[in-house]
Symmetry: C3
Subunit: 400 residues, 3 copies
Amino acid sequence: MSPDPLQSTLERLRALGVGRLGPDFLLTWEKSDSEIAATALAARALAELHRRGSSLRVFDSGLAVAIFRDKSTRTRFSFCSAADALGLEVADLDEEKSQISHGETVRETANMVSFLTEVIGIRDDMYLGEGNSGMREVAAAVQEGFEAGVIHQRPALVNLQCDVDHPTQTMADLLQLEAHFGSLQALRGKRLAMTWAYSPSYGKPLSVPQGVIGLMTRFGMDVVLAHPEGYALLPEVVEVARANAVASGGRFTVAASMEEAFRDADVVYPKSWAPFQVMQRRTELLRARDRAGLETLERECLATNARFRLWECGEAQMRLTRDGRALYMHCLPADISGVSCERGEVAASVFERYRLATYREASYKPFVIAAMILLARLEDPIATLERLVREPRPRVGPGV
Amino acid sequence: MSPDPLQSTLERLRALGVGRLGPDFLLTWEKSDSEIAATALAARALAELHRRGSSLRVFDSGLAVAIFRDKSTRTRFSFCSAADALGLEVADLDEEKSQISHGETVRETANMVSFLTEVIGIRDDMYLGEGNSGMREVAAAVQEGFEAGVIHQRPALVNLQCDVDHPTQTMADLLQLEAHFGSLQALRGKRLAMTWAYSPSYGKPLSVPQGVIGLMTRFGMDVVLAHPEGYALLPEVVEVARANAVASGGRFTVAASMEEAFRDADVVYPKSWAPFQVMQRRTELLRARDRAGLETLERECLATNARFRLWECGEAQMRLTRDGRALYMHCLPADISGVSCERGEVAASVFERYRLATYREASYKPFVIAAMILLARLEDPIATLERLVREPRPRVGPGV
Amino acid sequence: MSPDPLQSTLERLRALGVGRLGPDFLLTWEKSDSEIAATALAARALAELHRRGSSLRVFDSGLAVAIFRDKSTRTRFSFCSAADALGLEVADLDEEKSQISHGETVRETANMVSFLTEVIGIRDDMYLGEGNSGMREVAAAVQEGFEAGVIHQRPALVNLQCDVDHPTQTMADLLQLEAHFGSLQALRGKRLAMTWAYSPSYGKPLSVPQGVIGLMTRFGMDVVLAHPEGYALLPEVVEVARANAVASGGRFTVAASMEEAFRDADVVYPKSWAPFQVMQRRTELLRARDRAGLETLERECLATNARFRLWECGEAQMRLTRDGRALYMHCLPADISGVSCERGEVAASVFERYRLATYREASYKPFVIAAMILLARLEDPIATLERLVREPRPRVGPGV
């Protein structure tokens, strides 16, 4: 008789010896290997419980405050789904309907929305140097309010994408890799190509490629980063990836072309992003409300960008990968040549072959977010998960 | 001792021999007579349970995604109320804050918002030929995701008004008729006048009159449709009404004036709508972003419209109905002469006499939507309803 | 052994002999002294239950409709938090996405959103003479619908700020005073200075100062109102304050300067507001859409306003108060000199000393709103509170 996969997930989770995590999940590289593994295992357990039709409810009530400074469909719905499944109510902090801004008011607003709040999810990826640091301002503010007894509970903070990292996405990516290769251990030695790809738009955030190289280098993978000249990532994150690779016995290298990176790759993650130097100039121009400067920058960038139209993940590129069958990954939405744009990050035939796989990759995100909340907010999260499994309650039916 | 009406509602429901309905409620004429009757009975049972202060909760958690492509108060709140009463959390898919559109992205977005979703409600009535077909795209997309195991449950789709039908409204109308005449059987032979009426605006959707003639002809009613020349409904829906009348032993006729239609009517439903030919031209102009064309069309339409200012449901018209006391119906908001506009669909004195009746008509809608969700999503919906009645839990009080 | 403060709160509540309150909380001076005391005690009990990690849930489901006609962060989140803690779902009535307006439609819309609604919270403070009266229109409409059986339950109305009063704010202020001085009895004889203060903006509502003098004069306090010439409050509210002071054995006086009011004050509440005559002119200009008139009015007001830049709560002013240590109060956000504006209502050093105290003042608001809902909607609210305390259920953990 093969063991129940949910039981063995819980046993591995218990074996990690991890208790309650710190209140905030802001960068994966601030969490220990055991904490990352615990988050992945808890997410997998929650997903499996949900698949079986069981309740994930651990809160009787409480708010999940969502602060989105950029458009979002999947992260917004993932956060909403996770909060609701745990028993929390999403309350959007619409900055136009209030008047939050950096400085004094962050401290005040953070407290004002937190009196009955269990988690605050923030997407703030527009300005380099501001997103992640803004989240830390919010964290410090609610910590002060909690310590002063103004707030009865310390809300957890979840980074829903910032200028530096996108941990809910990359943890979902990690679950996808684990499912694909059978275990996190099986990732050792696998080659992952995180490559830039062409898109007609030029200003996409750096958080996904940075988050991917910052996380996947921790599992002994052979991570190769490729991008055109001038499209470098934040140097300090590249340094994190290098150090991770050394510590995990993996590899981290930089290649000069998509083709070089794809050669013998087990996994490919071709995606457009903006050069961080451009993002820095853009941040300054936005702050200065320099409209003419922004237009000049955009013209320059589009011209530069257009020189790299050949960075497309097509059939020829895929044939270079291991047995021509690397796993294609994307955080979605992808710019698909001939579908969502004339020419983009990926050929239509390649994307279509992996389309449902990318949906599955995205499907882990609600459970990753739920795991992050549960691990941060429950007194004894592992015991709580064990009880959800041992005494399952149906999610649908009279008397739920 | 007279029997408990809730018990007898449940007994009639059980006697229909209907189990779980198909996942989507898109057009009433895609549902069998038993399924329509089951939906009406379930709605009535839920309304009565609510009136008695009992809980309707059958979901522990889960999202109810609302997609509104047009303004809405009552349908929005009805969907929200229904979802909440059943235990679901409404999540609005704001198409401006995301970037949904027809084509590839519908397929993707539908899956992205559905990982923990039990129902998707859509209002999409702006473009002829697009609303209902767009709903089918969404249904196919979540079906694919469900079959691939990407989504753990198949969300139900509820049509909250499209270019063809408005089933949550017409089912509420049906409950109003049932309450007024005592039973669905008592509708047999009753004359219902579905007539066009003048409104200073000219572009109202066709879904209500189409839905009314498509549904009420199934109960042996004598349905008469009246409108000025050029204000025809979709020919295929008129055909549905004709066939229904034949099958049910009722009648379906077309009259040339409100007065002719009202004569001896038991029920009148005077309401403005746009000619479908106009809606078609408007759809093309909107697609072509032809602003000048739209303005010309509007001028023409308003001029045509103005010729039919006498199509008002006034006291003289009401006197033509059976004993001068036909039931006045409207989906609200009505254009009331001298109240919400100078001259409109109905005289103020007529509307005021039936005002609370129209509120009651609207009050069924949340329970109709709740019934549609329950019948689509519960494994054994009748048994679930029976248990909600047999073991009622209070909706208010400590320990709920 | 000292008694459990929660037990003694409940005993005092029981001793008041107050049952279910009327359905609407629109002005504090429409409530009896016992009802005000009951609301304060119930709010304190709910806050203490929440602090202990217990559930406040008394509704299985139901909507809490929020109607905000002005920007809001803290009141919006307070309403949302209160509703969620009690088990209700907030549904925003966005007047742009619907088409509510004064007149016929208020009556209709109020019913349309109330079929499964337990409470309606309204902020409507833009137009003098309209906010509070508009709330009464809504109350009458749902009362009519309830009596006609169209709505199964009579939704409670909570005034979330109008042109006359801001009862959820001033009740939170009262809890702050009670905590500061040890009891409501201890407020007797304490001097509270409600004073105008300079702000670079000129059009702030009158509801807070009016609400403060209308409520605090009921506890035997020595309330002194100070403002520059021409910044008078609504005469009828000033009359209420005068009568309250006589009835409670307190005092109500008007001073000509902040300094005079602050002398020996135990509590200071320095805050900007607009003269009601200006608000009246502004209301007329807004109705007439007289843009030029509004600009002229604004210029005049800003010029007048600028003459009173010295009305700032600085260190010198604070030194005049009792032992130089009066409690500083503010409804937030305050205009802080050198922080949120060049020169404003309060010096930065004063505000920083009381910053966490103002957060605590705000922290009572969700529990005040929850108490108002509970006292209006529960059959036997005191027994319900007693049971929440006697049989506490944890708010967090599996099986909640």
